[in-house]
Amino acid sequence: MIREADDTLTIFERSKAGRRAFVAPALDVPARSLDELLPGELRRSEPPRLPEVSEPEIVRHYNRLSKRNFDLDTGFYPLGSCTMKHNPKLHERIAGLPGHARMHPLQDPTRAQGALELMWRLQEALGEIAGLPHVSLQPSAGSQGELAGVLLTRAYHEDRGERRSKVLTPDTAHGTNPATVTMGGYEVVKVRSDASGNVDLDDLRAKADEDVACLMLTNPSTLGLFETGIEEIERIVHGVGATLYYDGANLNAIMGISRPGDMGFDIVHFNLHKSFTQPHGGGGPGAGPVAVAERIEPYLPRPQVVRRQVTGDGSEPSEAPAQPPPIFFYDLDYDRPKSIGRLRGFQGNYGVFVRSYAYIRSLGAPGLRDASETAVLNANYLLARLRQHGVAEYLPAAYDRLCMHEFVLSGEPMRHQLHIKTLDLAKRLLDHGVHPPTVYFPLIVEEALMVEPTETETKETLDRFADILAHILREAREDPSVAQNAPYTTPVRRLDEAGAARRPVVRQAMNGS
C-alpha cells in the first residue's frame, strides 16, 4: 500500500487492532447465553470493521480534518441565496441546556410545556413575518418545505374535486423547485423571465390555465431582483384557481419591510438555516417551516402545535371582572382529518427551532428590519464598488438596476477577453482566503456569479472583496494561466471530478469488501 501523506489518512487507515476509545459499563445483570437470546441464524457473521483508535487519536484526526475546511467564522462566504450570515454563539449554549437537549420527543405534552410553548411562539413569530396566520414547523429543510407546499396544494384541489397536473416555475428557479414538483406528482412548466429579469407576464398569462395547480416563486428572485409585477402575478394565478407559493430562500431581503402574505402568497416556506442563523453544518441540519393562508390550514401536516386556553378550573372564561389570568396549555393536535399526513417523524428539528427563536427574540422587530435593510445596503454597495473600471467591463451586472440582498454578474465578457472562465475566477479567489460566490447559477445568465454578502459583513470586508476581484482580473490580463490553474495554496488543488464520477469510490476499501 502506498503510504499517503499523513494529512489525508482516513480514520480507518489510522486504525490498529486492539485500540479503543470506548469502555463499556460493567455487566450488572445475570449473563445469559448469546445463542439463547439471539439465535445464530439471526446474527451477523463478522462485526462491522469500524476503526480501532483511542480518544486522543480521534480528537487529533478530526481537529486536523477541520483545519482543511474553510468556514464562515473564519472568512467571507458570499454564496448567493444561501444567506451565510453570522451564527450567534449564544444559540449553542441555549440549545445545549438539558431541558432542551435531553427531551424525548414522545414525552407527554403535560411535561413538555417549555418545548411546546417555544414551538408555538416560533410559529406565531414566523406567521407574523410572513403575514400568514397558520404555521407548521415540521418540514426538515427548505426542500421539504417546498414539498409540503406542493402536497398542500394537491390536497386543497383534491378537496374541491379538481384534478390539476402542472406546476409553473420561473426559468431562474433553484433546482429544488422542479425536483420538488416531480416528487409532488406534477409536471414542471417553465415560465420565462423578461429582459429586466422579472417574470414575463405575457408568458405567464399564456401558461396559466386551469390545469395549473401552483406557481412557485422566489421574491426577490434568484437574480436578486424584486418582482415588480407581483400584484399582477397574484391576479393571474388566483384567477385560474391555482395557489401561489413563496420560496423563502431570499426572505433576508424583506423582513419587516414587506410580507409574502400581503403580496398574496398562499403558502410560504422559511429556511431557518438561512435568514434565521441555524449554522449550516457543512450541509445541514436546517429546517423548512411553512406558513399558510386560512383556506390551506386544514391540510397542514399532523401533528400541529396548538395552544389551548383553560382557566384555573377548566371552565369557560366568564365576563366577571376579577378573573384570574388565562392559563394556556400547549399541545400536539393529531385530530386533523384533512391533513396531508406526515413528512417526517416526531415534531421536526427542535434544536433548530431553539436557535431560530432565540435569534428572533434577540433582534425583535427593529432588529429583523435592520438585518434586511443592511443586507440590501451591503449588496448594493458591493455592486456599486464592482462597477469600477477594471472590473465592470469584464464582470458586468447581469441587470442594470438596484439589486436587493444579492446580485448576479456575468463572466461572459471576462471569458472572451481575458480567457478565464467564472470557474477559474472562483478557484483563484480561494487563494485569497475568501469563499467564492455561487457559480453557474441562475442558468439564464452566461458564466453567472451570484453574490450575497449578507448584513453581518463589515464595509471593510466588502471593500477588500472588490479589491481582490480587481486584482485577479488585472492578473488575468497579464497571464490568464494563473487563474486557469488555480488554486495553489489550498490543501488540495483542482480535483479530478470526472474520474470520481466515472469510477466512483465512495467508501474505504478493505480486504474482502
Binding site: E497, A498, R502
Partner: protein
C-alpha cells in the same frame, strides 16, 4: 478530440447527433459540438438491445460531471448493438465521437427518414 470536425460521410440531426447509414442499418453518436458542450463524459446510460427508438425522441442520456444531456435519435428503428466499451471508458465519446465513441447500432424501420437529416455543411451552418 481537440479540433472540431464534422465528417462528410455522415448525416446530422439538429440536436447534435450523427448517423452513419449502411443500407437499412445505421450507427448513431453525438457530434463534436455536443461532446465539447458537455465536457468530459463520465457516464453513458446504455439502452437495451432490442429497444425501439423513434426519430426526434430521446433514447438515452449522456452525463458529464456537471450536466446531463438527452441524446436524440436521428432515425427510427430497433437497437441491435450497444457500445459496451463505453461502460469502462465513457471519455471515448470525447476522444473519438465518430469512431470508437459510437453509441448504438440500429436496424432502421424507415430508411427514407434519412432524407430529413442534414449533411455536414448544413449542420455546421446551424452552429453559427
Amino acid at each position: 478530440m481537440a479540433d472540431p470536425s464534422y465528417p462528410d460521410d455522415l448525416r446530422y440531426h439538429p440536436e447534435h447527433d450523427w448517423a452513419r447509414i449502411e443500407g437499412d442499418t445505421a450507427t448513431f453518436g453525438i457530434t463534436w459540438y455536443a461532446q465539447d458542450a458537455l465536457g468530459e463524459v463520465v457516464f453513458f446510460d446504455a439502452p437495451q438491445v432490442g429497444a425501439t427508438i423513434s426519430k426526434d425522441q430521446a433514447y438515452t442520456e449522456v452525463e458529464s460531471v456537471k450536466a446531463v444531456s438527452d441524446v436524440i435519435a436521428p432515425l427510427s428503428g430497433e437497437v441491435t448493438a450497444v457500445n459496451d466499451a463505453l461502460a469502462d471508458s465513457p471519455e471515448t465519446i470525447n476522444d473519438d465521437p465518430y469512431g470508437d465513441g459510437w453509441l448504438v447500432r440500429v436496424r432502421l424501420s424507415d430508411p427514407s427518414e434519412a432524407d430529413l437529416l442534414m449533411d455536414s455543411t448544413e449542420y455546421q451552418a446551424t452552429l453559427e
